[in-house]
Symmetry: C2
Subunit: 567 residues, 2 copies
């Protein structure tokens, strides 16, 4: 491919909405171009890398015995009503009416259509298990799309769904996909962690996320050297146990004008660890207000509250002062003493505390020397958000925190969709049984971004060889020089007869200009044909290490051909 005939469109300027390296570099290298907020067009170089990323995923999915299909992203309302998600999904679901005023959506995920298809295609236990998958465009109308392909409104996902006869079968399919994902992310040369993820109402260890480590990631990963790793939403920590004390008598204290528990602790001259903080939620599904109590220096993990209440994310919010008043307390002065047990959720750590301060359920008052069991009761559970240096729930050592980009997730759906949508099979005894499902997603375009986050420097992208848009670019210092042109053309022809994907930069521009372009684009090998062209000597630059070595052109070709053959 000659550079003069290619749509190369590198930019010097950093686009003003771009803050993270992958966004900046995808735009500056001319791989993608923004069409609208969170919607991008893929230019030739970007599309080549995208297809390579897709193909690596496809190869590993096919090897695992999954079968590729392609479902329309324009899906009728009826399907989404059957699962109940048409109403549950908020404004992130893009809705559209056809000319006959029938409702459709641009699907953000494909549980419904895969469940519906499988319910028709599979009738007997003999046909199970099956793992259909697709690589398809998805839509999520983010309020504030950002970070380029990382959080866009249109993105490409690989989504797979497994259908099994029972949970044992699901465990096998889940394990197969888990291992397949390891192979896939290994092939992308990503530095990633597999973490326990929240699996909602289903609970258990029913979900894992594949997190590419990066300071620009939007997810917090809590992990321990012992091997424990979890998404911050899911992470547990060992509850601390306070030193035992004699229980003292309750004592009301006047605490006017203090907004936070820290201010109260300060006023009373005690450690904030000797206080208990309250957070009130309104469960809109069950029309119920609950107050969560955690140690004063902790935060409530809302996901854990949601899972405990068995309510969907859209149907919970902070309670209003009025709703708080209705259950007999006062916003800002909430405490567990005297409340009904049904309105109270208590973090287990609170049961390990002595003589602590709580709200008095009365304006401008707190109570000192509260003690669990003696003074109040309630549902005890793990409610607190795990943080860096909290103790590992497995080994008890302080945990660490890293930021990650969620590039994949595996999830045991169990029978949630198959029951709702009548996706059943006939078992050996002729009984109708719902299929047991798992779902498995990989953010294809997000993975492309994650690779850049891990592989770049101040000059541009450093694509790993197997996802680079081209493997090598031949850059003559001056293409109009006869010796350089002859050698460059010769190398181009020779490489074109191999599997190596090659660009010849025949443009009328300076060596520096051309080098900058391809360093920005991140072509793994840059072969400079310069002043020693007549001797057949070229300079080969390895973009990953930025090392430049002079060598005979035959040797350079051999090196590249071998590298490409060993991809």
């Amino acid at each position: 491919m000659k550079a003069s005939r290619m749509l190369i469109a590198t930019l010097k300027e950093v686009p003003n909405d771009a803050v993270i390296p992958s966004h900046i570099l995808l735009i500056r290298s001319g791989m993608i171009k923004k069409m609208s907020a969170g919607i991008y067009n893929y230019l030739p170089l970007g599309l080549r890398t995208l297809r390579k990323v897709e193909n690596i995923i496809r190869e590993e999915m096919d090897k695992a015995g999954a079968e590729e299909i392609l479902c329309s992203c324009l899906q009728p309302k009826e399907l989404w009503e059957a699962s109940g998600r048409w109403y549950k999904y908020g404004s992130e679901l893009m809705r559209i009416k056809d000319r006959h005023d029938r409702d459709f959506c641009l699907a953000p995920t494909a549980e419904e259509v895969f469940t519906d298809l499988t319910s028709v295609l599979v009738k007997s236990y003999k046909q199970l298990p099956v793992i259909p998958y697709q690589i398809q465009t998805k839509y999520r109308d983010e309020f504030r799309p950002r970070f380029g392909l990382m959080r866009s409104r249109e993105f490409i996902m690989k989504d797979a769904y497994s259908f099994d006869v029972d949970t044992e079968g699901l465990d096998k399919s889940y394990d197969l996909m888990y291992k397949t994902y390891e192979k896939i992310f290994d092939r992308f040369h990503l530095n990633y962690k597999i973490v326990l993820a929240d699996s909602g109402a289903i609970g258990g260890n029913g979900s894992h996320q594949f997190m590419a480590l990066s300071s620009t990631g939007e997810s917090d990963i809590i992990y321990c050297d012992c091997g424990y790793a979890a998404d911050a939403e899911k992470a547990e920590s060992k509850a601390e146990v306070a030193e035992k004390e004699e229980m003292l008598s309750l004592e009301e204290v006047h605490t006017p004008n203090f907004k936070t528990i820290e201010e109260v602790a300060n006023f009373l001259n005690i450690d904030v660890k000797k206080t208990v903080k309250a957070v009130a939620y309104r469960d809109l599904e069950h029309n119920k207000t609950v107050i969560c109590f955690v140690r004063g220096d902790r935060d409530v993990n809302e996901i854990k509250v949601i899972n405990e209440l068995g309510v969907s994310e859209e149907l919970i919010r902070m309670a209003t002062p009025e709703e708080i008043a209705e259950i007999g307390t006062v916003d800002g002065f909430m405490g567990p003493i005297g409340l009904k047990e049904e309105n109270v959720l208590i973090d287990i750590e609170v049961t390990n505390m002595y003589n602590f301060v709580v709200g008095a359920n009365k304006k401008d008052y707190h109570i000192k020397n509260a003690n669990f069991n003696r003074d109040f009761k309630g549902k005890i559970l793990d409610l607190r958000l795990a943080k860096e240096s909290d103790l590992c729930p497995i080994c008890g050592k302080p945990m660490k925190l890293e930021r990650g980009i969620e590039v994949g997730q595996v999830f045991k759906l169990q029978t949630k969709y198959s029951e709702a949508m009548g996706c059943t099979y006939l078992d050996k005894n002729g009984q109708t049984v719902p299929m047991v499902m798992g779902c498995y997603g990989i953010g294809v375009t997000r993975t492309m971004s994650a690779i850049i986050e891990q592989y770049h420097d101040e000059f541009g992208i450093k694509w790993p060889l197997n996802v680079a848009p081209y493997h090598v670019v031949i850059v003559p210092a001056k293409y109009t020089d006869p010796a350089q042109q002859e050698l460059a053309d010769k190398i181009h022809d020779m490489l074109n007869d191999t599997k190596v994907e090659v660009i010849l930069d025949d443009r009328d521009a300076s060596l520096g200009f051309k080098m900058k372009d391809f360093e920005l684009i991140g072509i793994p090998y840059i072969m400079i044909v310069g002043r020693r062209a007549a001797e057949g000597i070229v300079e080969l630059k390895d973009r990953m290490t930025n090392e430049k070595v002079e060598m005979p052109y035959e040797e350079a070709i051999k090196k590249i051909v071998e590298a490409v053959e060993n991809i």
Copy 2:
């Protein structure tokens, strides 16, 4: 691939909305599955064929030096306003609002986005020509989607756009794409005709359609053995010349209660070829009524009227009786005599007639012995619809008619979009000049249907080898028979080591059942492993000819491997 692990979903029943073979067979073979009217999901076998069709197109486009990109089908209103098509497009354009109430459409074509992209990416004549293309899903909200993938609401198209410095460059790009399309449709083994197509206001020989011949096609092709071929909308014919007569005097006749020109001719006992028919249109863009006059046995070609008026298709309709009255005539009795010339379009054939009957522009009256020039004038042009057995405009012999499926179109856009959207380049003298554009479409999913229309029989599809989902299926008569299983497995393993894509039908079902499935699906080679398995003898069925030959399995493998290598 083992059939027991595949999502094979053949149907015995013909779906009740399917009338043409490709629709029936795509559904019955389990290649696609309807999700909503005109929206289909691609099951594993269908997706494999779709990808092969796409890849053949991609290979030939790449060979021609075109560069693949991928543009979102979700496009902002602003782009479509810039070209003026947001308002011109009617209800076939699917429109959607995002959560911020901004307008988007699901694009039916991509002139806007390609023009916009190129205007940014290309600045200088040095970068031209370029031919970016994409293979992407498109949307057209058909009032009545039908014929499966042939006229669906969601379909896949390859669309390419060429950008040149001048019309000479455009001619070259057009020619290159024309030749590339011939290569592509040859590789699909389609029997097709390339026909002159209407190119609207641009005129000239600025468009060709590639028509796969089929009785189920929706397009009429008028052609002559001399080589002339045109879409019926575009086709010309040689005007007939009536035998010369002495001009007689005008004579008013009372013709009450006759609705059609045939009734009038009958009443007056004359050949309908001695009458002139009138059709009135209302041009909503220029607020003007025009009456078109053609010989009584002819029809007006509305496209020719539209091109003459230079109005877009959505802005023309039949005139109402009131609009007709406004220009001084009467619906049902319209004639050219006495009308203003600006309201009259006359087919050239009318100027070759003598003493004919026309409407009297007065209720219940016609006029006899009208003659052009003596009695009336007006704009003369080719207005009539060409029909089978009309005379060829080139050689004068009677033309023939066939029906075709439009699978591709090439079109000279000239500067329509580049001027509207400011897609310019700097020429050698530093002058800003609009790029000269062409556009080139192939209906990818429609081509898949067209192949089936030409390659099927009463048993099912007969895929050409290069687009078949798999090349061969091994069908043991009884897989549980040890000799059959051993040989079938051996052949499966041997073929898996080659490029041949193979299915082993290991299902517990009768030979007849399994054969029916794969004849319906249209796998090119069916290798039956039956009672002579122990001797190493198989039966090889060629699905294209339906011939079955017994031979040693090694010979069968050799035959298939060779065929696949020669694809």
